[in-house]
């Protein structure tokens, strides 16, 4: 029998939890996720993904990140002074972000759950990729495929968004990427921002160069004006097929202007065989055929040199087409829009004799 008193096993001394600071050693933007992960003993990657998901929850992620940036000090003892101006900017951005949160139209409902699932998959893939081996290589390939898909999706989204009038926002995002790149140069580099910058800038440049404007009606529309009053200010569509049937139009003496505007698609105009039609068109990209052969290319204009005789009733088409095809004629190649629901094609060409006085 031993005299020794049974001793209770003491747990090993746990290291004190690190103070909550922004990490300078584990930093992607400002070290918020790295610092939170270190403080909470959680993988910073999971926190980063959570921030990204929360961005789509009414902009909460931006607000939360900016709040952390504002209120959590850096672990760099020299950082306090350096972040003085940044705190003021941060406060201003917080106000802007709060405005976004008050406008809960970004993404809600089932989309958020889908995003959380995507985030979990991304987290697992990145974890496996970090561990290496065959599974790591497979995970890296999967991540590469996802990144390419995201880039393609972002490219398409930026193209559609800028052509729907969001060009100023996308241009601002490009500049923000540039500022992030230039600022990141002094913190070890932020070259990863080059990819999103180009994914946003290239489609915006394409939209800017082609003046593509997809705002307006989408789909198939047939316009059949009977009088000049029906025409109003002309016809405008965003994307699709615009058919303008002028066969029933009662023309007043002289010139009748019909402006036609479309972002992307096909414009077909059919007139009565005894009506003089003069066409002036501007296309950013595509082809036009008004009867004197097909013209196509980039940034080109079609000008009809026909000068109708005085007193002749005639239609002047003023076409502004972003990307697509223009056909103007007085007959159909196959079906007639009036009798068929099929995709009829106008045979280009209108009567020049109709432009001469009888």
């Amino acid at each position: 029998m031993s005299d020794e008193q049974p001793t209770q096993q003491q747990p090993p001394d746990e290291p004190p939890r690190p103070r909550l600071t922004r990490s300078t050693s584990d930093s992607v933007i400002a070290g918020v996720a790295g610092g939170l992960g270190r403080h909470l003993n959680v993988d910073p990657l999971a926190i980063r993904i959570a921030f990204v998901i929360a961005v789509f929850a009414g902009g909460l992620g931006i607000l939360a990140y900016l709040a952390c940036l504002l209120f959590i000090p850096s672990d760099d003892p020299n950082a306090q002074q350096r972040w003085g101006v940044a705190r003021i900017i941060g406060a201003a951005l917080l106000v802007i972000a709060a405005l976004f949160v008050l406008t809960p139209d970004w993404m809600e409902g089932p989309w958020l759950f889908l995003l959380i699932i995507v985030g979990l998959i991304a987290y697992l893939l990145i974890r496996v990729a970090r561990e290496g081996g065959a599974a790591g290589i497979a995970a890296r390939i999967a991540i590469g495929v996802v990144l390419v898909a995201l880039a393609v999706g972002g490219f398409v989204a930026a193209a559609v968004g800028s052509s729907l009038g969001g060009g100023i926002i996308i241009g601002g995002l490009v500049i923000a990427c540039g500022i992030g790149l230039a600022g990141g140069a002094f913190r070890g580099g932020a070259r990863w921002l080059i990819a999103p910058a180009l994914v946003l800038a290239l489609p915006l440049a394409a939209v800017a160069a082609t003046d593509l404007d997809l705002r307006g009606t989408w789909g198939e529309r047939t316009f059949r004006p009977a009088t000049v009053a029906d025409i109003g200010d002309g016809y405008e569509m965003g994307v699709g097929e615009m058919r303008v049937d002028l066969r029933d139009l009662e023309l007043p003496p002289g010139r009748t202007d019909i402006p036609l505007q479309m972002g992307m698609g096909q414009i077909q105009v059919v007139a009565a065989p005894d009506v003089c039609v003069v066409t002036d068109a501007a296309l950013s990209l595509g082809a036009a055929n008004t009867g004197s052969g097909e013209e196509g290319g980039v940034d080109f204009e079609v000008h009809d040199r026909t000068v109708p005789d005085p007193g002749v009733r005639y239609v002047h088409l003023d076409v502004d087409l972003g990307v697509g095809e223009l056909r103007v004629g007085d007959r159909f190649r196959d079906h007639d829009w009036r009798w068929s629901r099929n995709h009829a094609t106008v045979d280009p060409g209108t009567s020049r004799a109709a432009c001469e006085a009888p």
């Binding site: 800028s162 100023i168 490009v174 990141g184 580099g189």
Partner: protein
């Protein structure tokens, strides 16, 4: 004078190029200037070329 160890000149050059490109596109979208294909294509190609050149000359990034 030795460069700072955490300074990445390629990021700086790329950032300036991206800012310039973004500003140009923003001005077009705000209808201050009018970009057409003849201007936009060489501008975009020059931007991409400049970024690639900067990254190539600066070597691999230490981080980011």
């Amino acid at each position: 004078m030795r460069p700072r160890p955490d300074f990445d000149p390629a990021s700086l050059v790329a950032g300036v190029i991206v800012i310039a490109l973004g500003a140009l596109l923003l001005l077009d979208q705000a209808d201050v200037i009018e970009l057409d294909v003849a201007y936009a294509v060489p501008v975009v190609l020059a931007a991409i070329g400049g970024i690639l050149l900067a990254c190539g000359l600066a070597g691999p990034a230490r981080r980011g």
